[in-house]
Amino acid sequence: MKVKLLSYQPSMDILSHLPAAKLSEKELLGHLSFTFALEGISRACSHQLVRHRVASFSQQSQRYIQVRMLKTHVVAPPSVTAKSPKIFDSLIGQASNAYQALVDAGIPGEDARFVLPNATETNLLVTMDGRSLMHFFGLRCCIRAQWEVKELSDEMLRQVREAEPELFSGAGPYCCQLGRCPEGRFTCGRMGEVVEKYRV
């Protein structure tokens, strides 16, 4: 997985025009956008990403780009590689062969891709405004988030904190943002430890 903050407009560009305005951080965040290149994540991960609707996505198309060498372009979950790598590798090999056979038979890429697994790697651009990013971090940096999207959101948070340290100093999972855990009976029970981890 590779995450890179490609573009954003610094908050100072706005604030320098508004010396007397009292703009809350929340209000300011809504006017800022952050564009990331996300590379080598699984389709399973990108499916979780696109559930965040106040965002923009430009994702590599499986209609127009053939998947070559599937075996070297999959994301393998650590739990699988630790316990059942043969089952996983076998399925990837079968999917790879089936995909290639369909393409060779003249089936359009948009149909051949139906046999590709969720583990298939994808690349995309994603843009979120600052408020949406805070919500994304609130949900996806949480210990309960799936490991890949949590790894992704932790890295995105690290990079926006470099770009805008003050604005994102309170960012992190919702327990850090709210001062309480909103997960109810699903709480991890480790709020103190989590808050400490995300403290700047």
């Binding site: 590779k2 890179k4 490609l6 573009s7 954003y8 407009q9 560009d13 706005i14 025009h17 508004l18 305005a21 703009l23 209000e27 809504g30 006017h31 800022l32 956008s33 564009t35 290149a37 996300l38 590379e39 923009s56 996505f57 430009s58 994702q59 590599q60 198309s61 127009y64 780009i65 690349n123 995309l124 651009l125 843009t127 405004d129």
Partner: protein, 138 residues
């Protein structure tokens, strides 16, 4: 009504071109963007061929203005396009932001003083996108 562009994401046309190529190329988006930043002619060539209905490629940016207008215009704009963001700065003074897709769609569908002023404000920032907008309005 008075509109003043005060901030924007850098090099928006390079990002539009990168978004276009990301969907149809096997090259990684960060590599595409880096190459395009160093090649403005290529960016011009790609963006000047903009002919798509997939507006998401126009969303990887944000422009921020100070708008001097009455509440009626702000309400009217929000009712017409939910992708504009407003913050009240004072009486008749607003901080307004949107991405290029929202700007183009608003200008094309509703025009008016605000639509025209929005297009005027982006003509030097994204010249190829502006030409695209003019073509669509013609």
């Amino acid at each position: 009504m008075r509109l003043t562009l005060i901030a924007r994401t850098p090099n928006p046309e390079a990002m539009i071109a990168a978004a276009m190529l990301t969907t149809t190329s096997g090259v990684k988006p960060s590599t595409i963007y880096e190459r395009l930043q160093a090649n403005p002619e290529k960016v011009n060539d790609i963006v000047s061929r903009l002919e798509v209905q997939h507006g998401s490629i126009l969303e990887h940016n944000r422009l921020v203005w100070i708008l001097e207008a009455d509440e009626q215009l702000v309400l009217d704009t929000l009712l017409k396009n939910k992708f504009f963001t407003f913050t009240r700065l004072g009486s008749g003074r607003w901080l307004m932001s949107a991405n290029l897709r929202a700007i183009l769609e608003y200008s094309e569908e509703h025009g008016g003083d605000l639509g025209d002023s929005l297009l005027d404000s982006i003509c030097t920032v994204v010249p190829n996108v502006n030409c695209f907008a003019e073509r669509r309005r013609a």
